[in-house]
Symmetry: D2
Subunit: 337 residues, 4 copies
Amino acid sequence: MIIVLRKNISRKEELEVLRAIKRLGYKPHIMRGVARTVVGAIGDERKNQSLEALSAMPQVESVTPVQKRHKLVSREAHPVNSSVRAGNVVIGGRKLIVMAGPCSVESEKQVLATATAVKAAGASILRGGAYKPRTSPYEFQGLGEKGLKILAKARKETGLPIITELLSERQATLVADYADILQIGTRNAQNFQLLIAAAKTGRPVLLKRGLSMRIEEWLLAGEYILAHDNPNLLFCERGVRTFDTYTRNTLDLAAIPILKQETHCPVVIDPSQGAGRADLVSGLCKGAVAMGADALLIEVHPNPSAAWSDAAQQLSIDGFARLMTDLQPFIAAAGRE
Amino acid sequence: MIIVLRKNISRKEELEVLRAIKRLGYKPHIMRGVARTVVGAIGDERKNQSLEALSAMPQVESVTPVQKRHKLVSREAHPVNSSVRAGNVVIGGRKLIVMAGPCSVESEKQVLATATAVKAAGASILRGGAYKPRTSPYEFQGLGEKGLKILAKARKETGLPIITELLSERQATLVADYADILQIGTRNAQNFQLLIAAAKTGRPVLLKRGLSMRIEEWLLAGEYILAHDNPNLLFCERGVRTFDTYTRNTLDLAAIPILKQETHCPVVIDPSQGAGRADLVSGLCKGAVAMGADALLIEVHPNPSAAWSDAAQQLSIDGFARLMTDLQPFIAAAGRE
Amino acid sequence: MIIVLRKNISRKEELEVLRAIKRLGYKPHIMRGVARTVVGAIGDERKNQSLEALSAMPQVESVTPVQKRHKLVSREAHPVNSSVRAGNVVIGGRKLIVMAGPCSVESEKQVLATATAVKAAGASILRGGAYKPRTSPYEFQGLGEKGLKILAKARKETGLPIITELLSERQATLVADYADILQIGTRNAQNFQLLIAAAKTGRPVLLKRGLSMRIEEWLLAGEYILAHDNPNLLFCERGVRTFDTYTRNTLDLAAIPILKQETHCPVVIDPSQGAGRADLVSGLCKGAVAMGADALLIEVHPNPSAAWSDAAQQLSIDGFARLMTDLQPFIAAAGRE
Amino acid sequence: MIIVLRKNISRKEELEVLRAIKRLGYKPHIMRGVARTVVGAIGDERKNQSLEALSAMPQVESVTPVQKRHKLVSREAHPVNSSVRAGNVVIGGRKLIVMAGPCSVESEKQVLATATAVKAAGASILRGGAYKPRTSPYEFQGLGEKGLKILAKARKETGLPIITELLSERQATLVADYADILQIGTRNAQNFQLLIAAAKTGRPVLLKRGLSMRIEEWLLAGEYILAHDNPNLLFCERGVRTFDTYTRNTLDLAAIPILKQETHCPVVIDPSQGAGRADLVSGLCKGAVAMGADALLIEVHPNPSAAWSDAAQQLSIDGFARLMTDLQPFIAAAGRE
C-alpha cells in the first residue's frame, strides 16, 4: 500500500500513522518528496487487513493498494486459458460457441421450434429463461419449473446443452438439476449469496457484468465462484449503463482484450442485451468475434413481435440463420472454427 | 401507448401493426402527421400486456408508454404521506429521525459504546451491519448471527430500535427476528427474490437505491414490497455511480423532492455511503434536511481508523455529536423537530 | 510520482525505468514490497515534465501523481475565501447573492419586466442569454448584440449588474463591453481558448462545470483563468450527465463542500439547468443554501410556456417571489443574509 | 409532437393547452385514453417552433418530439454513403483508410521518422497535433504554427495528406492553410462557433464525439457543418466517459452500425484515445474493422515512453507495423481492401 501524508503535519502525527501501519501487520518505509511525504507499507495486502482504514486519519491524504485483489481468476495464477465444458461442448477452445434461444421460455412449441432451428443454423447451446427478473412486479415472471422441464425436453430432442438463469438461492439445487450452465444476471452480479449458492452446485456459472460494474469488481465477483471451489466460470459482457439513450446499454467490447489479459476464464458476449435492438446484433457479433470472444449469447424467437419479454432485441429464426452465415469470414479471420 | 410508425411504409404494413395492437387488447387510434404516422393504443397499460413487443416490427420506429408503471407506492394511489413505525419511533412524521451506528458490528464493546453515545447525541435508531456484502471474498464478511445478538443487546440497554442489512433470502426470518427494520443494500436493490422475502417478514424495509438505478426502477423495486402486502417501505438515497472519482458515489439529493412528488413513502438519506468521506457528511446532512428528508442514516465508529470496513466514511463519536448540534438550525428551518 | 513495476521484470528492465526517471528530472527511490517493487520519483511534479510517459514502458504497471495539479485556485495557495465584485455586488461575502432572469433575451419588454420583478423579489444580479449555444443549428441562436443592448438598458433602469454567456473568442471584447460577469457554458468548459479570451477581458468569469467533468478537471479549467492573470473566478455547478432520465442533469450538490475544501473561489449553484424542471428548483435551492453556496443562478421568465428556449425549467415571476420567501429560513440557518 | 396531459385537469385547462398548440403553428388532435389524454400536434417540427415550451404548463405531463432533428446528415436525406476526399485519398470508399502519427508534433525529426514508417506500413494519412488542448494550463500546449510547418514538410516528403486539430476560431484559416482535414476534438464537440468556423474553411472536418455526447447530439453537431455548406464531414468515435476506471474511456463500437443507419457520412474510429492504453489498440482495431469502420485514427510515436503527451496510448513504429499485418484478415473479411 502507498500512503500519501498531508502537507505540514507534525512529527507526532506522522508517527501515529507509522504505528497504525505496524499494528495492521505492515512494515512502513518513508519517502520524503518535494511536496509530500509518502509511506510505502511493505507486506502482503491479501493476507493482512487492508490499510484503507488509515484514510480515516486526518493526517492521511490517500491510500492506494499496489496489489490486485483478484487471485484465483487472475492470469498470474493460471497463465494458460481455462476452458469450461457443458455437456459435450467446450467453451474456451478453438471453436467459437454460439448459445441461442428465446429470452423467456413461453411454451414447449416455441422452445422446440427455436432449438431445432438454432441447432440447424450452427448454435451449440440452447438458452432460455424460466425465471425472469423483471423491473416491475406486474410483468411476466417466467414459467418457473415448468419452463425448466420444457428446456430439458428440448435438450433431449436436440442434444443441445442448456443455459438458464438462476434468480434465487433457494432454487439453486432445482435449477442445477435441469441446467448445464447457470446464468447469473446483471442485477445479481454482486448478489454474493447467490454467487456462492451457484458455485456450490458445481455447475458451470456464466456471470454477467453488473449494470455499472468496474472490471475489478467483476473479477472479484468471479473470484467468489472460484474461491468456493468451482473452477467453471464464464465472464459475460452484456453492456453497461451510460448516459446514452439510443441503445438500452453500451456494449463494452474492450472488455474482451482486457479480460484476456487479466483472467484465464473464457469470455462470452451478449449482443442482444448489449444493444437492446435486434438491428445492431449482427454488427456487434462481428466485432466480438474479431476481438476474440470465446462464445456469443444471442436471443432468438420464432416471432419476436409476439414475445413476452424483451421483444425488441430478439432475432427471428431467419435473422439468426443469416447472422451465422455472415459471421463465417470473421470466425475464420479470428483463427477460430 | 404511443406507437410511431416509420416513414414510407405500405398500407399493408400499417394494417399489420393495427392488428397486432388489437390482438394485445388495445384499440388503435391513428393520427397522420406531416412527417410520421402515430398510433395511439387506447387501453389500460397495467392490465394488458405491454405493447413494447411491437418495437420488434420493422415498420415501427418507437413505442412509448403513457402510464407510469408504479402503482401502490405512487402518490396518485395514496395522496397523503405515509409513515413507518419501528419500535416507538415514527419515520415520516414531523420529527427528523437520525439512524446512526457503525458500518460493521465488530464487538459488543464497540456497539454498546456507539449506541450509548449516538443516543446521547440525539439519534433515535441504531444501525450496524452483521452480514456485510463485500466486493472481495477475502474481506471481512460480518459477524453473522453473533452480530445480530450484539445489536439486540444494545437495543435492550439503550431502547434504540435497530436497523441491519438483510443479504440472503435464507436469512430473512432470522434477521427479522432481531431487527426492527430490514435494510436492502444497493447491490441487492433489484434482487427481487430478496425483496419478496423481506416483504414477507412484515418488518419495515429500507430500500437503498441501486448503484445506477433510474428513479422509475427504484419506485418499481419498492412496488415489489407493497405488492407483497408490506406497506412499511422507506426509500434511501445513498449516492449513484458516475464518472467522478473525487467521491465514491454522487449523492443525488434531488431524489428527495422527486420522491416526495412521486411517492407517499418516507425518504431517508445516507450521506456516509453517499460521499464515502467523513469530511463531507456534515455538508450533505444539511442539504438533506433542508430539502425535506425524513431521516438520515449515518455511520459512526468509536475509532474510525481502526474500523474493519469503510473506515474513511465513518464519523467519530465526537464528530457525530458536533454534527447533531450543527444540524439544529436547519431542522428548525425545515419545520421539523 | 509513484511508479509500480510489473512482477518478474529483470534487473536490466528495472534499470531502464530508473534511467528514464532521472532523465525526466526526478530522483528515484526504490521500495521492494512483497508482491511488487515500487519506485518513488522525488521532484517537483509541477516544474518537471510528467512521468506519465513512463506508463508506456512495458515493465511499468502504473504511474500515480502525488501532487495535485491545480495551484492558483487551490486553498493551499490562498487559505482565505476570495470574493468577486460585479458592479456594487460582492459574491463570496456574507450575503447570499441571487442572479435571476430569463434563459434567453427575447425582447426589451420581456427583459425589463423580469428585471424589475426579480429585483423587487430580492435578486442582486440580472441574467440573460444574448448568444445561445443550441444543440441543433435550426434552433433560436440568440439575439446577439441586440440582446446585449437590451440587457444594458435593463441594468440602467434597475441598477442590477448583468451576467451573460460568452460563446466565441471573437466576441470576447464585445460581450465584455456590456457584461459585468462573463458566463462560460457547460459545453465550453474545456474550450481553453475561450477561457483564455475571457480571462484577458479582465471581467469576472463564471465557469460552469462541464457535462461530465471531474472535480480536478474543473479546478484546472478554472486555473486557466487565474493563470491568465484574472483573479475573478466563480465556479458554478449546474448538474452533470448521468444515466438517469427523470431529470435533465443530476445536480451534484456535494460539489459545494468539496469546492470549499479545494478552492478559495466562490461557489454558485444553478438549479434551473441542474434539474431542467421548474418544480424541483425550490428544493434544490434550499439544499444549496444550507450547504454553503455563495450564490444561486435561477431562470425566471414572465411567461415560461411561451419561452423561446428551456421553457420547462424557468420559474414564473410569482414562482420566483415565492421561492425567495421560502428560502429565508435557510439563509438565516446558514448564517447568511 | 405528442403531448401527454396530467390526470384530472379541467376542460378549461385542456383548452389552454390546445390554444397554445395552435399559437405555435400546429393542429391539435385529441386522443382520450384510459388513464391519460394525449394530444398529437400535427405540423412540421423542423419549421415550427418546438412545443417543448408547453412542458412548462402545469397541466402538461410530458412533450415528446416525433421527428428526428438531424436533416442534412441523415440517411433519409441522402440514402447513399457519402465519401470525403483529402488529397488523393478517399475516405468512405472500398479501401479501409488508416490515419497514423504522433499525438503531438514534437520535432521535425520525430514527425518525419513517423511519417515514413507509417507510410511504409500502409497508412494513407498522417496525423499529428500542433495545437493541443490540455487539461492543465501548465502542460505542453503544442508547437503551434511551427508544428504545422513540420507537418507540411512531412506531407511534401511522403505524399501523405495531413489531419491536425483546430482549437480556436481565430486559427481556422491558418490551420486550414496547412491541413487536409481539420480535426475537432472531443472537448470542442459542441463548441458550435468553432464548428461553424471549421465548416467555412471548406476543408473536410473530422468531428470527434464529445465525452458524454448522445448519438443524436453528435449528429446535430455534425449538422452544423453541413448546414454551413460544407458536405465533407467525418464522424469519429473516440470513447465516451463512464464509471469504469480500467481504461481512460469506453470505446462505443456500437456507434459504427448506429451511424451507418442514421447517416451517410463516413465513420472513423480512434482506438488510441478510446482506450488510453497501447495494449488494447490492436483488439479494438480488429473490432472496428469487422464492424464496418471506414477509417482508423491511430497514435504512433518513435519512442512512446519519451512522448510529450499521452504516452501510454501511443504505439511504437514496430507495434504499428505488426498491427497493420494483423488487421489484414479482418479487412478482407469485411470486404475491404
